[in-house]
């Protein structure tokens, strides 16, 4: 594939993520923080996010599977996930967390299970998309090209 074409694909792909609401402007902020002194910033942060989230989702599954669900434990996890997902711009994950938290407050175990599923779904989705995104970027860089700056015109 030609470099220009790859760059265009990347741009289109990224745009689609924004349009679908998978990512929001916070992600753009992260991209803007990336520069020569910090060339892998975005992928580093996103990797941290994946690590943290995998752990949190695991803990959440365990907590919700208990005989007696301790919402005092569940809520902080969801809160943290909400915080980190909003920080990297994973909008749909964040929104799912907000819903999750409201059911936690109501102490509705059934609903919480469903919320957890929803959160997981959104999380895997964004994880998948971001991994694809990074692959595209790597291809461009490997071909000697520059990653185009994201336009905010959409």
């Amino acid at each position: 594939m030609e470099l220009a074409q790859m760059q265009k694909s990347l741009q289109d792909y990224t745009k689609s993520l924004f349009l679908e609401g998978v990512l929001d402007s916070q992600f753009l902020q992260l991209q803007q923080l990336q520069d020569e002194s910090n060339p892998d910033f975005v992928s580093q942060v996103v990797t941290l996010f994946f690590q943290d989230s995998d752990r949190i989702l695991n803990d959440l599954s365990l907590s919700l599977d208990q005989q007696v669900v301790d919402f005092k434990k569940v809520d902080p996890h969801v809160h943290q996930l909400k915080g980190s997902s909003s920080s990297i711009g994973a909008q749909r994950v964040k929104n799912a967390c907000v819903v999750f938290r409201s059911f936690c407050e109501q102490q509705n175990v059934e609903a919480c299970h469903r919320c957890l599923q929803q959160v997981k779904q959104e999380y895997y989705l964004v994880k998948n998309r971001l991994e694809t995104l990074f692959k595209l970027e790597q291809q461009i860089v490997a071909s000697g090209g520059m990653i185009p700056a994201m336009e905010l015109g959409f």
């Binding site: 916070q26 902020q29 992260l30 923080l33 910090n38 910033f41 580093q44 942060v45 941290l48 996010f49 690590q51 943290d52 902080p76 809160h79 943290q80 909400k82 915080g83 980190s84 909003s86 920080s87 990297i88 711009g89």
Partner: protein, 500 residues
């Protein structure tokens, strides 16, 4: 960081400002670190609150500013905030994904300079250096407090949660006021000015040990302020306790005419009224607040105006303290928002009322920001506006009748002075005729250096023109009512305030 260091570094500042960032979430911490680097600050990060405290304790001047997450597993962010405030007195910014106002309030109460929501944006971080400047400016002023200069508190440290723009303009106004205050106070002998900051510390310390167990020695230790003696703390504590007691009593008191007369003898009576929307007890307050806007918070300002040339036989223990935020238990309930005030009285735009508005805004903001502190600005402003006010206030008494026609008139009245004062502003222009009448009695009152008894007040009321007599009497009573409440608080304040 010493003050001199601050000044030297001013050219480069805020570049290189040393920030300690604390957050247990790795993702957020990493992002925060990068954002701060982008702002050209010098950043140290840790994911444990305990580590943060150790770092800070190692060298109290190591960091200019601390940014901390609220929810951390090893220590509550608020606890950390309190500790830092007490031990190091560094500015602390809270960070959280919780947008619940309760958390913001908690942050403010515990002394946070600011409260940011995640995800943090770089624009917000670009301005955080202002908290460092503010704090060091305050420290500088505090350090010369006992050298015979009465310096006002120049900032509202740790009080503004989310009120950046308003705060800034408010600060400017306050600074002006404070300078005036300082000039006036320069002839006085050295005394401890209980600035908002200082009082804040006092409150934090009292909170820490519990009001019942509050002893000056402990409080002094916890406060950790130079040039403050146990005696200073002791008398302040005494006043504080008295104020609390009075506030509780006040809540049940009906017209305390004596108070009113006392108040009237104060020059700043008018403004007093103005600022003390309801020197009523908190219970009344709430009632009023529910219906009226949240003027009640202004209440706390009652008596916060130290600059009355009070000839009242007040006790000035150590040359007077400025009572800051006396009625602070009720402060938490006082939420005045600027918006409310403005909406309430759109007519405030009249020139005469502008001082009022400004002051009230100040009050409002101040009250809102920090639960335990009425701002300095009110009394600072009072100095300026005393004369204007006294006239304005009294001449505006009549307009209150307009207010009466509102539903919940009773509450309205009770509610107060604040509303009254606002109304006064509004009506001021239109009730010129009434002014003359009011001025006389007011002047009369002003001449009385002593506390007038209820009889005198009644006489004064009667002395007003027949037509308005009734009204005025009514008004006056209300005013009295308010005044009396105000008066009692004023008493407290007066005794604690620095008299000009």
């Amino acid at each position: 960081m010493t003050v001199e260091h601050d000044i030297e570094a001013m050219d480069q500042f805020p570049v290189g400002m040393r920030v300690l960032a604390v957050d247990d979430d790795q993702t957020c911490l990493r992002i925060l670190e990068t954002l701060l680097h982008r702002c050209q600050y010098h950043v140290t990060t840790t994911d444990k609150a305990q580590t943060a405290l150790e770092l800070l304790r190692e060298n109290k001047n190591k960091f200019d500013l601390v940014i901390s997450d609220v929810d951390m597993p090893d220590m509550d962010g608020f606890k950390l905030l309190e500790r830092v405030g007490l031990e190091m007195d560094s500015p602390v910014i809270m960070l959280s994904a919780h947008s619940d106002p309760k958390y913001v309030m908690k942050g403010v109460k515990h002394g946070a300079c600011d409260y940011m929501l995640k995800p943090v944006r770089i624009e917000e971080l670009k301005n955080i250096w202002q908290h460092v400047v503010r704090k060091s400016k305050f420290k500088k002023m505090k350090s010369i407090v006992t050298n015979g200069e009465s310096e006002g508190n120049s900032d509202q440290n740790g009080v503004r949660a989310n009120r950046k723009r308003k705060d800034q303009s408010e600060e400017e106004d306050e600074d002006e006021e404070e300078e005036e205050e300082q000039e006036r106070g320069n002839e006085k002998k050295p005394r401890v000015i209980w600035t908002r900051e200082l009082h804040n510390k006092f409150l934090a310390a009292v909170d820490h040990v519990g009001v019942k167990n509050a002893v000056p020695k402990k409080i002094l230790e916890l406060m950790n302020v130079d040039n403050l003696t146990r005696e200073n703390v002791g008398s302040h504590l005494q006043k504080f306790r008295l104020a609390l007691k009075k506030i509780n009593n006040e809540a049940n008191m009906a017209a305390a005419n004596s108070h009113f007369t006392q108040m009237s003898s104060l020059k700043g009576l008018g403004s007093f009224h103005h600022y003390r929307p309801t020197p009523l007890g908190s219970s009344q307050f709430h009632g009023g607040a529910a219906t009226m806007r949240h003027y009640p918070s202004n209440r706390t300002f009652a008596g916060m105006f130290p600059h009355f040339k009070s000839s009242l036989p007040r006790n000035h223990n150590d040359g007077g303290y400025m009572l800051q935020g006396k009625p602070f238990p009720s402060l938490e309930t006082l939420h005045i928002t600027n918006n409310n005030n403005n909406k309430a009285f759109p007519s405030f735009t009249s020139p005469q009322s502008s001082p009022l508005v400004a002051s009230s805004n100040h009050l409002v903001l101040e009250g809102h920001q920090q639960s335990s502190f009425p701002s300095f600005s009110p009394h600072l402003e009072i100095n300026k506006r005393l004369e204007d006010w006294s006239n304005a206030v009294y001449s505006n008494n009549i307009p209150q009748s307009n207010v009466h026609s509102k539903p919940d008139a009773l509450e309205w009245n009770m509610d107060t002075t604040k509303t009254t004062s606002f109304c006064r502003d509004t009506d001021f222009g239109s009730s010129n005729a009434a002014q003359a009448d009011f001025l006389d009695p007011f002047q009369m009152k002003q001449q009385h250096e002593n506390i007038l008894d209820p009889m005198t007040v009644a006489e004064l009321s009667r002395s007003s023109s027949a037509d308005e007599g009734l009204f005025m009497g009514q008004q006056k009573l209300e005013n009295n009512f308010m005044a009396s409440d105000a008066g009692s608080l004023d008493d407290i304040v007066n005794s604690m305030m620095t008299q000009v």
